[in-house]
Amino acid sequence: MRDTLGQVYHLARRSVVRQARQPANVVAPIIFPLGLLAVNSGGLQPATAIPGFPTDRFVAFALAIPFMQGALFATMNAGTDLARDIQTGFLNRLSLTPVRGVALVVGQLAGVAFVATIQAVVYVLVAYAVHVHPAAGAAGVVVLLGLAIAIAIGFGAAGVFMALRTGSGESVQGLFPVLFVFLLVSSMNFPRNLIEAGWFRWLATVNPVSYLIEGLRSLIIEGWNGEALALAFAFSGILIALSLVASGFALRTRMTRT
């Protein structure tokens, strides 16, 4: 157990240092979502005039989206870094050591958690800067950060799985649009109950990403909504569990191949 924790520590440290040494990996997931937030909150502000819209400031409504977009970037970063390790033979050399698979995956996710924490703190600061005060208060901000990190780890684990499965950074990058579809077809821009097109409302309802967004959003514009938070944590937990199990199988196959 102590050996495994030691392995996790060393690989996590490597992952964090690696992220910190690639400013593009940290800056892009912050700048791009904030740019989109500015555009969408300006362009969609008139939507708040629709009866039943849950807030009178669209920027407050849309603030949950950067957390999700940041998580998607985490998928790409974690996956691309691991794929590079596979392509450069680092994983091959690692497989000759007594390092355990769980240490490799958890260590990789430490870098994701590191970037996700920075992102989430920046987004919260931006919220206060534009006079959006999370309705759930200071404790809500802590839960918001926790949920954001959990979501990023879930997507990061999915990125790790993709990297182990494909072994190619290009393939991992190519999957970005596929994941982005989940974001587009969700309650990202409108509350589900106000979506007019029935087929789109159905798609948004069966899309787990809607519940992740709604959990984050509830803390900002509603306060404490137990159902929204429970669903968000449940879906992020399921995503983490499924991705880790899939990564475990993929890692076993990858190690056998090497």
Binding site: V39, P46, G174, L203
Partner: protein, 259 residues
């Protein structure tokens, strides 16, 4: 006369090659087609309730309102995606051989423009079909619609010139973000979701000064059969073409000079 023939030969050869590459490689064709379609689905499907906002009155419906944006977006990105191919040609050394073999090198830009146009026409057919299925009501006459499509073709050519210029300067696919980010920002700082008159605050000021706004509002008026400010939009499009084609030609000279 010979100069015209040389120009035409080079343009058609490069154009044919670009079209052939795109049609035989789904990874080049599909993203350019799927990206605008997804945007259309997300905007027209997810935001259609915006048509109930006081002051929003658009006869072709919200699907038509978004169609005009997505058509222009697909036209602009049709040019940008072709720019990626030009950069790849430089990376692989093909452009160097192309420059050596071309008797009239400005025909190279025209050839890429032909490729970008055909590529976008394929996408535009798909976008139009989906928009009609989604309930877009076409109120404009055939002349209005022709005007709408010609504006989109001009946008396609203008942004092909932009991307071509970047590709010839940097000669690397790594310049991709420089090609697409400004185009993306220009497009999204236009009145994408609601008409200009309903925008408020800083976004209204930015959208008012954005040349894409003129094109978008004119296209929407043409689809609705109520042409407004179309002449201004055509002037803006001509200005974009003149400016960006000069940029492309200068970049071509730069590429020639750098060997």
């Amino acid at each position: 006369m010979r100069a015209v023939r040389d120009f035409r030969n080079v343009a058609f050869a490069v154009g044919w090659r670009t079209i052939h590459n795109v049609l035989h490689n789904p990874s080049l064709l599909i993203p350019g087609m799927v990206f605008p379609l997804l945007n259309f689905v997300a905007f027209a499907g997810g935001l259609s309730r915006l048509r109930h906002i006081p002051g929003f009155d658009y006869p072709p419906g919200y699907a038509g309102f978004q169609f005009c944006f997505v058509l222009l977006q697909s036209a602009a990105f049709g040019g940008v995606f072709t720019g990626f191919g030009i950069a790849r040609d430089f990376e692989y050394g093909f452009s160097r051989r192309l420059m050596l073999a071309s008797t009239r090198r400005s025909g190279v830009i025209a050839g890429y423009a032909i490729g970008a146009l055909v590529r976008w026409l394929i996408t535009s057919v798909a976008v139009t079909a989906v928009a009609v299925i989604a309930g877009m009501r076409i109120k404009g006459s055939p002349v209005d619609l022709a005007g709408l499509w010609v504006l989109a073709i001009m946008v396609n050519f203008a942004f092909l010139c932009w991307a071509c210029g970047i590709a010839m300067r940097f000669q690397s696919v790594q310049a991709g973000p420089i090609m697409q980010t400004p185009v993306f920002l220009l497009l999204f700082f236009a009145p994408v979701y609601v008409p200009l008159k309903l925008l408020q605050g800083w976004i209204h000021a930015v959208a008012t000064g954005n040349p894409i706004t003129q094109l978008l509002e004119a296209n929407r008026s043409l689809l609705a059969g109520q042409p407004a400010h179309v002449g201004v939009a055509y002037l803006v499009a001509v200005g974009l073409i003149l400016g960006l084609s000069a940029w492309a030609v200068l970049s071509l000279r730069h590429a020639e000079a750098s060997g």
